[in-house]
């Protein structure tokens, strides 16, 4: 279980986020510039909140009151970045096992085989990231984060840089990931259809504030443009 309660001011954006996740896939949903990526960066430890508390399964990752701030490389929080960020000088195989080397986790061939199969990347292992397509890069990036045995997996709009055809290609892998990998996930997105397909819980953000949390009924009707409509008050629990 992930508990987040933090504030952070970034230029004109003032982020004030408080939510807890119950496992499964939690979507951070909101328009561009609503602070979604900054929040996952703070969970990962790449950005430091001004104040607040972040705890994962009861263990503190950050707590301004007691001065706790676990270094990013000790958090064991997997992060799939929007742009993949595969290491260009390493093969796909070396990218995949990078987290195991660095975290000092023993290699586990069975699990590696499982993840490689889950993501359908067995034919890519000897290649370099430079020669992969966008969809292939996304899948390798997911595999790289999964293989470090994360306690939590953050996915920051993993499909944002892909065209429609590639999104269709990736979606089934994400659904398998949700159903087969027993890792709680935070999925950042501004696309309601993705969230509807993947998430069991939604945290709705606008201008750095959590405007609603709840099930996927917190999402707007698909026909309405998400960016400038208000959240429905009937079913979503409003949080201020």
């Amino acid at each position: 279980m992930l508990e987040v309660d933090l504030t952070k001011t970034l230029g004109v954006l003032s982020i004030q986020a408080r939510f807890a996740t119950a496992g499964g896939v939690t979507a951070l949903f909101g328009p561009s510039g609503s602070g979604k990526t900054s929040i996952v960066n703070m969970i990962a430890g790449l950005l430091t909140p001004d104040a607040g508390r972040i705890a994962l399964d009861g263990a503190l990752l950050f707590d301004s009151a007691s001065g706790v701030s676990v270094a990013a490389h000790r958090r064991r929080v997997g992060y799939v970045f929007q742009d993949g960020r595969l290491f260009p000088h390493l093969s796909v195989r070396a990218n995949l096992v990078f987290g195991r080397w660095m975290s000092g986790i023993a290699r586990d061939p069975a699990e590696e085989a499982h993840v490689i199969d889950l993501l359908g990347i067995d034919r890519l292992l000897a290649r370099r990231p430079g020669s992969l397509s966008g969809g292939e890069k996304s899948r390798v990036a997911i595999g790289r984060a999964l293989l470090m045995k994360p306690r939590l997996l953050l996915l920051d709009e993993p499909m944002a840089s892909l065209d429609e055809a590639r999104k269709v290609e990736i979606m089934p892998y994400l659904e398998r990931l949700r159903d087969e990998a027993r890792v709680p996930m935070v999925y950042v997105s501004h696309a309601a259809d993705e969230v509807r397909r993947l998430a069991s819980q939604v945290v709705r953000l606008d201008h750095g504030q959590v405007v609603a949390t709840g099930g996927i009924d917190v999402l707007l009707p698909a026909a309405m443009p998400a960016a400038d409509a208000r959240p429905p008050s009937a079913q979503g629990r409003a949080v201020t």
Binding site: A44, H73, R74, F87, P88, H89, L90, M102, G130
Partner: protein, 230 residues
């Protein structure tokens, strides 16, 4: 083209001096370049200025400062002699030190630029995968900066081969000990009948410089292909 043993000595000495000057300054160059590119600390602009000073100072000034500091009676030179028995002044090792100091700004500059060009977000990604600062540097930053490291080494080596002013001021022009190609050419141009040996050494200089450029170009292309890895 027949070379005298004196000329061979000068060539061998030049290569030895340039090789050690480059090799010994490399770890320091990488450390300083990384600190300048990736960290903030008090006095950073001062360090930056000091590193670049040999580039803008007259070489004779740098050489004279080295003589004052590293000479047998200089504060560092005396300490080195008393503690380790190391003598730098008027020795080839002193020539290597002078060349290292003169080449250092070029080395640091090339490496720093290549580190600054690396996408910091790749380093962030390494961090989330459990890599601490040292491992992130070793496994991501340094390999990606390799073309710049090679370029910096070549510049430093070339500078060391051609260094004249600081070297001759610090360690003089002693055949067989501190007389590099540049110093030898200078000496030949000062004596009657020295044109022919001077010209031979000029040709040798050009050959060495060209070879260094071609070899480094090859390495840099290899490293570049690795980094951008298709």
């Amino acid at each position: 083209m027949q070379l005298t043993s004196e000329e061979w000595t000068a060539i061998e000495l030049s290569l030895r001096v340039a090789f050690w000057a480059t090799l010994v300054s490399l770890p320091f160059g990488i450390a300083v370049a990384w600190a300048l590119a990736r960290t903030e600390f008090v006095g950073k602009s001062l360090v930056d200025g000091l590193v670049h000073l040999p580039l803008v100072l007259p070489p004779v000034v740098t050489g004279y400062l080295l003589l004052i500091l590293f000479g047998r009676r200089g504060p560092i030179g005396a300490w080195l002699y008393d503690t380790f028995g190391i003598v730098l002044s008027f020795r080839w090792t002193g020539a290597a030190l002078a060349c290292a100091v003169m080449g250092f700004p070029l080395l640091v500059r090339a490496i720093r630029l290549s580190i600054e060009a690396i996408d910091r977000r790749l380093e962030d990604a390494a961090t989330t995968l459990g890599a601490n600062r040292a491992w992130t540097f070793a496994a991501v930053t340094l390999p990606l900066a390799l073309p710049g490291v090679i370029a910096g080494m070549v510049l430093c080596f070339a500078k060391a081969l051609g260094e004249f002013g600081a070297t001759i001021t610090f360690v003089s022009n002693i055949p067989g000990e501190t007389q590099t190609i540049s110093a030898a050419i200078y000496t030949y141009t000062q004596v009657p009948g020295g044109d022919e040996p001077a010209l031979r050494l000029v040709v040798i200089s050009i050959v060495i410089a060209l070879a260094a450029l071609i070899v480094s170009e090859w390495f840099a292309r290899k490293a570049g292909a690795r980094v951008h890895g298709a």
